[in-house]
Amino acid sequence: MPDIPFDRPNTDPRIASQPLISFEGVSKTYATRQRTSVSALADIDLAVPAGSVLGVIGRSGAGKSTLIRLVNGLERPDVGRIRVGDAEISALDERALRRVRRGVGMIFQHFNLLSSRSAFGNIALPLEIEGRGKAEIRARVEELLALTGLEDQRDRYPSELSGGQKQRVGIARALATGPSVLLSDEATSALDPETTRAILALLRRINRELGLTILLITHEMSVIRAIADRVAVLENGRIVEQGDVFEVFTRPQAEVTRTLLAGEMGLTLPAALAAQLGREPVSGAAAVLRIAFRGPHANDPIVARLARETGIEANILSGTVDEIAGQPFGSLAVSLPAGPDVVVRARAFLDAHGLVSDLLGYLPARSAEDRHVA
């Protein structure tokens, strides 16, 4: 493992009590050609603890790009304060900002490598900008090539590299000056799933081994799940939900979070059943519940106990067991037999066992019966 930064003190997560990056009441609007202004971000409060990975997720146009660019001063807020370490970004002039930016690395969706420079030359660029000597640059770049597994690509030009290799060069370049913060702007959105996994694993390793604090933006829940400790959900320029990744994934509060999570969590019903699912209980209809098993309950034989203890025989429609942020997480869709108070009793039982359940809807009697017979 190569040495971490040059001579810049690295923020040790165990010592730092304050967040390394913080937003306080930040808002920004853009003027448009029609003389109306578009609110890009409104009342953002956000804190990224040193050494952690915070993922900001949202649909395109939610304000993610603006948010990440406020951290290194590529964008300026209208109101509010942004701090990185001891520096108040929002109060610095351009010259002072340039110094701070050398301690904040950034990687990009389209890599943004210079086509006129080899992998070596691209990684050397931030060091040249800092005014480092030739020998020092060479030693540092070799170290970074080794760290990112690019020794064989040293003298290749970006046009001769694959997407994954380009992003590795981007990461090595961002780490060149030994920053304490890494900003990732949709860094895996232009990559295929396999390369995405490899790049995310590299970022996670850098986070752990170098103690680097990472703020990333993405529109993919799978990215958050693979790498983030905490997540903030952005919609229309506002943070609608934030917290621990496991919490947010297993108990999403905002509608947009549920939408973004759909598919990611394997909670979907078989298509044929989903098509018949109605919102209103018609006579003889079977209620469909989704039960989420979190942490220690993930492996409980809950359907059997439900039958034994309450006499309600639930029918399993679909189920998955998965791992989120290193903790097991299961989810089960069941249909309940028709009957008075069945839904209320079943949910009370589940509540009593610390399980979260959602009423998804009702299946008409016919198909519910077929299911029970089958």
């Binding site: 701070v100 950034m106 490598l113 086509s115 006129s116 660029l125 931030p126 900008i129 046009s159």
Partner: protein, 221 residues
């Protein structure tokens, strides 16, 4: 062709090459920074100075829209001031430089505006100053385009240099008009045209080769 005529043709070719090379070098010396400034001083750009950009753009357009032969005559006092005379090869270099500077500036500006703005953003994110961005990002990335632009400029200068022959500038154009046209020597006219074609062909080929060697955006086997 007589040996005397061959000597005249060689002399004139040398004069033309001197004029063109000097004017291209000086035009690049002034045109490159001017082009970089035109590209980076637009609103919202690195050195944003929209007002100055507008004024310079106007001057560049005015120079470029003046027909070359009129420009040559119009700036005779300026040519005398610089070269001490308004006749001959050295004097002809002055209007050639004046005409090529704004032309080269526009070509450089176009090449720089082609550079992906993402690269400028990345350099800013690493704490680069505007000067560093220009020297380490914009010019190297635009270099293949700049070389192609300069090739175009040199070819145009060959044409212009033939025109200054008409007003006593010397070189191949002068030879063609005095011997080929005024003295009815079609073989001299033909020789002049052939030499010009060969020169243009050579410049174009060299420029394109250099540009493609510099261009790393294209994957080569």
């Amino acid at each position: 062709m007589s040996p005397e005529m061959t000597r005249l043709l060689l002399q004139a070719t040398g004069d033309t090459l001197t004029m063109v090379a000097l004017a291209a070098a000086l035009g690049t010396l002034f045109g490159l920074p001017l082009g970089v400034f035109l590209a980076t001083s637009r609103r919202g750009e690195l050195l944003a100075a929209p007002w100055l950009n507008g004024v310079l753009g106007l001057v560049v357009n005015a120079t470029r829209s003046t027909p070359f032969i009129i420009l040559v005559v119009a700036i005779i006092p300026f040519t005398r001031l610089i070269a001490g005379t308004s006749i001959g090869t050295w004097a002809a270099t002055v209007p050639l430089t004046v005409a090529s500077t704004p032309f080269i500036a526009r070509l450089v500006e176009a090449a720089i505006r082609e550079v992906d703005p993402g690269l400028v953003e990345a350099a800013r994110a690493f704490g680069a100053s505007p000067t560093q961005i220009i020297r380490k990002v914009l010019i190297p990335e635009a270099l293949p385009g700049i070389v192609l632009g300069l090739t175009l400029a040199v070819v145009s200068l060959l044409g212009y240099s033939a025109m200054v022959g008409a007003v006593g500038g010397g070189g191949l154009g002068d030879l063609g008009i005095r011997y080929g046209y005024q003295r009815f020597r079609p073989e001299m006219m033909l020789a002049v045209v052939v030499v010009l074609i060969v020169l243009v062909q050579a410049v174009q080929t060299l420029g394109e080769r250099l540009a493609s060697r510099l261009n790393r955006r294209i994957r080569r086997a």
